[in-house]
């Protein structure tokens, strides 16, 4: 191999496809030093993930998006020149020239110049405040301009336009979308589907204007509005143009390569341009009259060219690509696959429309009912992967194909990956088949999606196939007769529930004992806090005695913040607080310069304490009767209370007293996740008890007990467990419920998701908790009684114990505090300087 003549490969463009080409060529030519690769990228940094560009707005860093760091290129002997624009191709001399004057010879030239946003020639586009949405620089510019804007208009109601609209909405701007056609996503959706999508997007707070033809932008230097052909006007502070793409073929055209009438470098099935030494791949290539504005076909092209360069015999061809897509727009599920319209194909249509829920689904089926041709999903796109595979692999449909899009009947999903043939392509970005994935799972004993991604690269592109990978894992395990268990991590081959019982039976009290008896290796940041939590739930010993296995917040008994300072949240049971306590909070905050905020949990949070200040701050708070609020722990937080019948004219019971009693009973109790409670004095529910892990609502006969609700990421209303209880019974049921949950939940699983997975639902829970069907209630109550009896305020213990107290310092060899801390002022208080 190595005695073959060297080949100088020059790649113009270091975007997603240009990078993928390098990756493929390196992988395919391993051990063969023939290829000398030079890559030119006009952008200032190595290729990054454009598909997930919008994540940059929600905090992803440039590094997070980078496909491979500069070191990867040099490690693989690739010369990467970023910030270097190729301006000329001399085909006769076989050289390229860059804007800075470099001239580089090639044997093979690969054009991966991608595309630019198509900017319609509307008068006024050059004004300040008009943006396109394509590069990191575009996003930086938008973000800084948005600071002074309140309103944004996105031109284009296609896939990208809607994504840009969500981005400007998330930047806090009033957002409008202007579309020339009579519906949104005209290339992917039919009229009914687009109408449903429009309604959903309007619900997000985005205004949609259809049939609008922009004639010019108004404003002097900066844009102030759009003027339309129908003489209407839409005022705005900024505009994002997302009206399509324009292949970057200017360089190729100038070099005399064949290009299409509407742009794009003409290529054959080998991706060769009209010059056999020059290839074009990605969004700049025009294949069979088609520009592919998606990453997966580009990756396929990269693979074809790389393979062709390495192997002389049986070269693969690019055969076109399916344009199925799924919108990533958070909050609205939209997908279209196969042929969504079937305008020219004979077909029957199956429609499901639920205007109430905002769901529209359409399947186009062959007239004999055997095959799926394509379709549209709006409002619910869970079946997308499976439906797409059904089209692609020409799988014969079941007798009632409508089942594929009807709401899933109990527990059944819309088919599983196993009915697919082994050749079925699961990851179209990386072109990996079901057979490859299942073989990797079996032969390399993979146990999770991360492993599958690592070993096969499936799921590392757009991520769309990840749910399918999960299915394939589960199915393969089942086939092998393996029971699927959620084990903790590589160090413990047990589920949390199993480990809980093992620890309880053996009476282990330290992490090292548990690891020695039940695990392997040295542990990690996943299993340590889980074991810490199990130990705390069983023994209720002071957690500060095993600081190194606690999550950060538990380690320092305070929540860590940006910059590395901590917050202090004393317990205020039921929200009841004395004037002296309020005064002390103010004094402490002043003395240590802390930012003060009333929390959503009826108490006060003091932010910005340095680690060595925590003990003296708590010392001062303990003096007036405050205790730890466990705001940092997976533990009981607050029991929120309304004012109840002692003051309120509608109240039927004393909710504050009950809330104080309950909060004091469970304070310090550690569970798989945090716990919150609420007590309302009447059915008006001012304490929002039904949004808590356990909630109590007064009735004129006693108390109703609700369980397994929460707010947060996925709000869930609590479910009624029992009605009209006396206080004593109510407490007994909560004891049992909390302990049962604590024994059986997965790590970091709150009561609501735990309940969702509980087979038999509320009926089963009632049987266990009320009828004692498992015969464990006495045990559960005893365990809870132990917790209640062994409670100690952990902050008091730390403050009074010099050895524990000594852990609270930044440097162990100097008294200094962390010199890197920085604060800025805001509304008369401080906050950490920006990241």
């Amino acid at each position: 191999m190595s005695n073959q003549a060297p080949v100088r490969v020059v790649v113009v463009g270091n975007g997603m496809v240009g990078y993928k080409f390098c990756e493929k060529l390196v992988a395919k030519s391993k051990g063969d030093n023939r290829f000398h690769i030079t890559v030119f990228g006009e952008e200032p940094r190595p290729a990054y993930d454009r598909v997930h560009l919008s994540a940059y707005f929600s905090g992803a860093s440039v590094e997070d998006l980078t496909l491979a760091p500069a070191a990867w290129y040099s490690d693989n002997n690739i010369k990467l020149l970023t910030g270097e624009c190729v301006v000329k191709i001399d085909r006769a001399a076989q050289t390229i020239a860059t804007h800075s004057g470099l001239v580089v010879p090639y044997d093979t030239l690969v054009m991966a110049t991608g595309s630019a946003a198509f900017v319609p020639p509307v008068p006024g586009v050059e004004k300040d405040g008009v943006f396109v949405y394509r590069t990191i620089e575009d996003l930086d510019a938008m973000m800084s301009y948005a600071k002074t804007a309140t309103k944004a208009v996105v031109i284009g109601g296609g896939l990208l336009g809607l994504e840009a609209a969500k981005a400007t909405l998330d930047l806090g701007l009033e957002t409008h979308v202007v579309e020339f056609a009579s519906r949104l996503m005209p290339r992917q959706l039919d009229a009914a589907g687009a109408a449903m999508l429009k309604r959903k997007i309007e619900n997000l707070g985005i205004s949609i204007h259809l049939n609008k033809n922009t004639t010019h932008f108004t404003g002097n230097d900066a844009v102030t509005g759009l003027h339309f052909a129908d003489e209407s006007l839409l005022p705005t502070d900024m505009v994002v143009i997302s009206a399509g793409i324009k292949p970057r073929d200017e360089l190729a055209k100038e070099a005399g390569l064949a290009t299409g009438p509407r742009g794009g470098i003409v290529v054959n099935d080998s991706l060769q341009t009209s010059d056999a030494r020059i290839f074009a791949i990605g969004e700049c290539a025009l294949h069979n009259g088609m520009i592919y504005g998606l990453v997966a076909p580009g990756y396929d092209m990269a693979d074809v060219v790389a393979t062709n360069l390495v192997t002389a015999n049986a070269p693969p061809f690019f055969r076109g690509f399916d344009m199925s897509t799924k919108l990533k727009l958070i909050g609205v599920d939209v997908a279209s696959f196969g042929d969504p319209f079937c305008e020219k194909t004979e077909h029957d249509t199956i429609l499901v429309e639920d205007k109430l829920k905002g769901v529209y689904k359409r399947l186009n089926v062959s007239p004999d009912g055997k095959h799926l041709l394509g379709g549209v999903l709006v409002g619910e796109a869970e079946g997308y992967n499976m439906l797409l595979q059904t089209v692609k692999n020409k799988i014969v449909l079941p007798p009632n194909p409508e089942d594929l899009i009807l709401p899933a009947r109990t527990g059944e999903s819309a088919g599983s990956g196993m009915v697919l043939p082994d050749e079925a392509c699961i990851c179209s970005c990386e072109n990996i088949s079901k057979g490859d994935i299942c073989a990797a799972i079996e032969t390399q004993n993979l146990t999770d999606v991360a492993g599958v991604k690592r070993c096969t690269k499936a799921g590392t592109g757009c991520g769309g196939c990840v749910p399918m990978l999960n299915d394939l894992l589960t199915e393969t395990f089942k086939k092998q007769g393996k029971v699927v268990r959620k084990v903790l991590c590589e160090h413990f081959n047990y589920t949390r529930q199993e480990l809980f019982h093992l620890v309880k039976l053996a009476g282990h009290t330290t992490y090292n004992e548990v690891l020695k008896a039940n695990g392997t290796g040295c542990g990690c940041e996943v299993c340590k806090p889980v074991v810490a939590s199990i130990l705390a739930s069983i023994h209720n010993e002071i957690i500060a005695k095993q600081p190194v296995i606690q999550d950060t917040n538990d380690r320092f008994l305070a929540n860590i913040q940006r910059g590395g300072t901590y917050s202090v949240v004393p317990r205020v049971p039921g929200g009841e607080i004395t004037p002296d306590q309020l005064i002390r909070l103010g004094e402490v905050a002043k003395q240590y310069g802390l930012y003060c905020k009333i929390t959503g949990g009826q108490r006060v949070d003091l932010f910005g304490a340095q680690v060595h200040q925590l003990p003296p701050i708590w010392e001062a708070l303990l003096e007036v009767g405050f205790e730890s609020g466990h705001a940092y722990g997976k533990a009981l937080r607050t029991v929120k209370s309304c004012v109840g019948n002692t003051w309120c004219r509608f109240g039927v019971q004393d909710s504050v007293t009950f809330a104080v009693e309950i909060e004091n009973r469970y304070k310090g109790f550690r569970a798989p996740h945090k716990l919150k409670g609420g007590v309302s004095g009447c059915t008006r529910e001012c304490a929002e008890a039904q949004s808590k892990d356990f909630g109590i609502i007064a009735t004129d006969k006693g108390w109703n007990l609700y369980v397994c609700g929460n707010g947060g990421t996925k709000p869930k209303h609590a479910v009624l467990l029992a009605a009209d209880l006396d206080k004593e019974t109510c407490v007994k049921y909560i004891d049992r419920f909390l302990m049962f949950y604590t024994r059986t939940a997965e790590p970091l699983q709150r009561t609501a998701p735990w309940f969702e997975k509980l087979e038999g639902g509320i009926h089963y829970l009632r049987e266990v908790i009320i009828d004692d069907s498992l015969g464990i209630c006495a045990d559960l109550e005893r365990d809870m009684q132990h917790i209640v009896h062994t409670y100690q305020d952990e902050w008091r213990t730390v403050v009074e114990n010099p050895e524990l107290r000594a852990q609270f310092r930044h440097f162990v060899n100097a008294e200094a505090s962390d010199p890197s801390l920085e604060f800025v002022e805001m509304r008369g208080q401080k906050r950490p300087a920006d990241w």
Partner: protein
């Protein structure tokens, strides 16, 4: 490099470092995280600064191993780094510096 010619700086007594955990020292104006990996009877030293969001926090992270490779997890976003090589174990581009450590007469020394 010859390890005997290193410039060893005194960090702190062994007792200042929790078993199977870390603590931070200031050496020549630089923040260094030192880890007492008692389970394998080894010591490691790295930058205290996490390269992800530049938080001075690694000494407060949990340590452990993955496939036998000793590592520390930053307390902020749980990015993990090899204690041997400093490489980011999630495969991201940023990494940390590691430094030689030794223990003599109950005192920990680092070569910075």
């Amino acid at each position: 490099m010859n390890i005997h010619s290193l410039n060893w700086l005194k960090a702190a007594p062994v007792s200042a470092f929790p078993e199977n955990g870390g603590a931070c020292v200031m050496l020549n104006g630089q923040q260094i995280a030192i880890f007492n990996f008692a389970l394998t009877n080894k010591w490691y030293a790295t930058d205290n600064e996490c390269p992800h969001k530049h938080e001075m926090a690694l000494a407060r992270g949990m340590i452990g191993d993955t496939a036998g490779e000793p590592k520390v997890a930053c307390p902020f976003h749980k990015k993990t780094f090899s204690l041997e090589t400093g490489l980011n174990l999630q495969g991201e581009s940023y990494c940390i510096r590691t430094y030689p450590v030794k223990v003599e007469d109950g005192v920990v020394y680092v070569a910075v």
